[in-house]
């Protein structure tokens, strides 16, 4: 491409515009307040609705985690918390954070808001289905929350819901409505997600604007797209296992239930396999990790590139790494089950596949830091969060190499090492990306910046605080402290008492949690009184910043859809006047720019 002569470019001969493949769609135009803001069919509004519900239910899960941390460090402060409540809080915290917060926020929230804008579409291809998807998700959340108020309370089976204990009376909520509501809520969630997910995939494949080839899409879209495809394949395993366990629980079938003795009496079940459930669960559960991680990978790539004023290094490799990670994530699930009692020979296979997945993941990390090399780095708050993401993600990723290597997993599995690992890698790391993304796109959504000072305070306390929670926690796992223990007592294997470390972690956890109040306050006040943002305030190249109105209105792009001439990373192109060339700028408009990649 660089071989084009100056005259060719300036004459506009190279401004190739592909033909329109899909005719423009008719949009549904809302007429009343109710259809515009509540039962909205505008993907942007739906995205915000998803985000608000996800964050609200996430705050509930945050408070639950405080209760757990207080019990572990200062049990005298929470005398009302018995083992049953503790296990119920553990379970609800985990399930809410993984499914109802992270999955819903990345795909339902960011997916809805960003997909049409970034690929240059007016809306999702099925706006009505999109609306139904959100309301189905809300129903799933309400059913989940309702389980707090039924007799016996919510299920305390752990977020993995392993049978037989999940549906026996030795587990809180196991013989009541708690577990059933959890299974029903998950099933509803999957149904709602399927509607949304088909929408995201089809929009990305069918509704891209002219010139937006797949290999010109921002990595955010690649991450969300691949994650959605994973989810569409993985969630069926979850919904069938939920239905089968509901039948085991209510109708006495024996999919997962062998003959057992429940407090002295032989149960009516026989012949089922508890390990079958684990296979189904982790066939969903491991891709789920990447359903959360891949959108975070994509978003953070864009944040780093924009704020370092440099193209993302190795774009094609980044795309293929996302796709390969997505594909491999379906053949690693049993690394969660090394000591489950499955055939031990599986250990060889799954350890190998698991460690192979480290290669494309490591390449992504290298490419992020190489993007910083000789960049022109603006230390904005989104950039700060991206840097923090890299630290936490690399930390959490390498502990994955401990747990993925089957023999190393044996002493560490079911200890606090695991808890620290997955919180670092799929809790803190994606959440830091979410924060960075909110600071980044807030000016687009509201037309105003978030307050910088509050943002910096929020960033430093959140990043350093959460690192202080989870980094030392790995060492509790080395000591051998098992997870899911309501009370540890002093046991002779603990050569150093863990009480002080647990207290330290709890104090850090409560501090980090409270700091989120500053963030929420910042969101609420800045939405109204924040510093006004210009159009494209970060000088980004991707399409969502090139809309006619800011914030973008219904239909996104005004009278005409943009036409795309280049990838989303033309930063600091030699010969160009500005240090960025938006995707919809024709080569003839920037003569002299020595573009190497389009």
């Amino acid at each position: 491409m660089s071989a084009d002569s100056y005259e060719d470019v300036a004459s506009g001969k190279n401004d190739i515009i592909p033909a329109l493949e899909v005719p423009p769609q008719d949009l549904y135009h809302a007429k009343s307040f109710l259809t515009r803001w509540i039962f909205s069919q505008d993907a942007k509004i739906i995205g915000i609705q998803y985000a608000l519900v996800a964050v609200s239910v996430g705050l509930v899960a945050l408070v639950l985690s405080w209760m757990m941390r207080l019990q572990l460090a200062f049990p005298e402060l929470v005398p009302f918390l018995g083992p049953a409540q503790y296990y119920q809080f553990v379970t609800m915290h985990g399930m809410i954070m993984v499914v109802y917060l992270l999955t819903a926020l990345f795909l339902g929230g960011f997916g809805n808001y960003l997909i049409p804008l970034m690929v240059g579409a007016r809306d999702m291809v099925f706006p009505y289905l999109n609306m139904v998807s959100f309301w189905t998700y809300l129903l799933a959340v309400l059913v989940l929350v309702a389980s707090f108020f039924v007799p016996g309370g919510p299920t305390g089976a752990g977020w993995t819901l392993y049978p037989p204990q999940a549906i026996t009376s030795g587990t809180p909520g196991g013989d009541g409505l708690g577990i059933v509501l959890m299974l029903v809520s998950l099933s509803i969630f999957v149904i709602g997600f399927t509607m949304g997910g088909l929408n995201y995939v089809i929009t990305i494949l069918q509704a891209r604007t002219r010139g937006m080839t797949l290999m010109r899409m921002p990595l955010t879209i690649w991450g969300i797209f691949t994650a959605t495809v994973l989810a569409l394949f993985a969630f069926p395993a979850l919904i069938v296992s939920c239905i089968m366990m509901t039948l085991d629980s209510l109708l006495g079938t024996s999919f997962f239930m062998p003959a057992i003795i429940e407090f002295g009496e032989q149960s009516e079940h026989s012949g089922g396999s508890p390990i079958l459930f684990q296979h189904l669960f982790w066939f969903f559960g491991h891709p789920e990790v990447y359903i959360v991680a891949l959108p975070a990978f994509g978003i953070v790539s864009d944040l780093i590139s924009v704020h370092a004023r440099k193209n993302i290094f190795g774009y094609r490799m980044m795309v293929w790494a996302i796709v390969i990670i997505g594909a491999l994530s379906f053949v690693v699930w049993a690394h969660h089950m090394y000591v489950s009692g499955m055939n031990p020979w599986f250990g060889f296979f799954f350890a190998t596949t698991t460690l192979i997945i480290a290669v494309p993941t490591a390449l992504k990390v290298y490419n992020w830091v190489i993007t910083l090399w000789r960049g022109n780095i603006r230390l904005t708050i989104p950039m700060l969060f991206s840097l923090a993401f890299i630290v936490t993600f690399v930390n959490g990723g390498i502990t994955g190499l401990f747990l993925g290597n089957v023999i190393v997993d044996v002493p560490l599995s079911d200890t606090y090492f695991v808890v620290a690992h997955f919180h670092m890698v799929m809790g803190i790391a994606p959440v830091l990306v979410i924060f960075g993304a909110i600071y980044h796109w807030f000016p687009l959504i509201t037309g105003r910046f978030l307050h910088e000072g509050m943002g910096k305070f929020h960033f430093w306390v959140t990043f350093l605080g959460s690192y202080l929670i989870y980094f030392p926690m790995h060492y509790l796992g080395f000591v051998g402290v098992p997870r899911r223990y309501y009370e540890m007592y002093e046991s002779p294997f603990m050569t150093t008492s863990t009480v002080s470390l647990n207290q330290f972690i709890t104090i850090a956890a409560i501090t980090v949690g409270l700091t989120q109040i500053v963030f929420l306050y910042n969101i609420i006040t800045s939405a109204k009184f924040g510093k006004k943002a210009n159009r494209n305030p970060w000088e980004a190249c991707s399409l969502e910043w090139q809309t006619a109105d800011v914030p973008p209105t219904h239909g996104n792009f005004g009278a005409e859809l943009p036409i795309v001439y280049r990838w989303a990373y033309d930063f600091s192109v030699p010969g160009a006047k500005d240090d960025y060339i938006p995707q919809n700028v024709a080569p003839s408009e920037v003569p002299g720019a020595k573009v190497e990649k389009t």
Binding site: E262, G341, I370, G375, V394, I407, R484
Partner: protein, 305 residues
């Protein structure tokens, strides 16, 4: 606690000093301090694994190996990042370098990472191969878990555990031992009490559960395996030092999971024999319950012993 707070304070003071002295460099300094703090914590931490009491020292070794390989990558990546943030701060008169791809570098990194991953995986798989292959002559002990305590069954002088069946389980026969299997008669039953094992004798555990998932975990032995109702799982180890060790359930098993503890004692031969002589066999227990006739009948049918 004091150590942790002191470490945090020292790092915070250094961080604030750097931030005041070089406000432009605070971010990269903070990132570097996080890494140096992590390294310091790693080498100073009093929280480390408990002294090993089994033959699985190789597990500890693979952890250490993984630590060195992955820890150096972690430090290198993060310090490189910190350097970039230090060196390439925004300057409106400067443009970033423009280099979309560099296939030599990308392939180099791919190969480097692959080698690192193989270096971790190969030794790990060799040890796993040992772990799943118990020695032929290992002494078999059955561990029977139920909510929320441990029972044990040792083979008697014949060295063979009698067959058992779930349907045989009742309040007298908690292990469900087949009454018509003569090998079961001399089995030694330990219900809700401490287990004793002999130092330096390899042991293969037959793990059973009668209700939900459990996991027989002794931190000093390092080994683990879930116990699944409806099947028998196994692992093996050789205790290498005497002592009393706490058994912890390592697979969530309901409300009292955290209280499902027990004790295992590794004895020298004399102590072990003394303890063994005090235990009752299945046969003795059955006769004391007045079920001896049934047992004899069963034995006659089988025509053995």
């Amino acid at each position: 606690m004091i150590l942790a707070i002191a470490l945090v304070l020292v790092l915070a003071i250094v961080g604030i000093y750097v931030a005041i002295k070089f406000p432009q460099r605070a971010v990269s300094a903070a990132l570097a301090l996080v890494i140096f703090g992590s390294i310091a914590f790693h080498f100073l931490t009093p929280w480390w694994w408990t002294e090993i009491a089994s033959n699985w020292g190789a597990m500890d070794d693979t952890i250490i190996l993984t630590f060195w390989v992955t820890g150096s990558v972690f430090c290198a990546v993060c310090l490189f990042m910190s350097y970039c943030v230090w060196k390439f701060r925004y300057n409106k008169d400067r443009k970033a370098e423009y280099e979309p791809e560099n296939s030599k570098l990308e392939w180099g990194l791919t190969i480097f990472t692959t080698i690192g991953v193989c270096a971790l995986l190969a030794p790990g798989l060799i040890v796993w191969d040992k772990y799943v292959d118990p020695p032929e002559d290992a002494f078999r002990i059955e561990v029977m878990a139920q909510q929320w305590y441990w029972n044990f069954r040792l083979p008697g002088e014949d060295g063979i555990l009698g067959l058992s069946d779930f349907d045989n389980i009742d309040e007298d026969n908690t292990f469900g031992i087949n009454l018509d299997d003569p090998n079961g008669l001399d089995d030694i039953l330990i219900e809700g009490d401490d287990l004793h094992i002999l130092k330096d004798r390899s042991i293969k555990l037959n793990l059973r559960s009668i209700d939900v998932l459990h996991n027989f975990y002794v931190p000093q032995f390092r080994a683990k395996m879930d116990m699944v109702p409806g099947m028998i799982t196994t692992y093996w180890f050789t205790p290498i030092r005497t002592g009393e060790f706490e058994i912890l359930c390592a697979e969530y098993c309901g409300t009292s999971h955290y209280a499902m503890r027990g004790w295992v004692s590794v004895d020298e031969e004399a102590d072990y024999k003394e303890w063994l002589s005090e235990q009752t066999t299945f046969g003795e227990m059955m006769s004391s319950l007045g079920k001896s006739n049934d047992t004899k009948l069963a034995l006659n049918i089988n025509g053995e012993k």
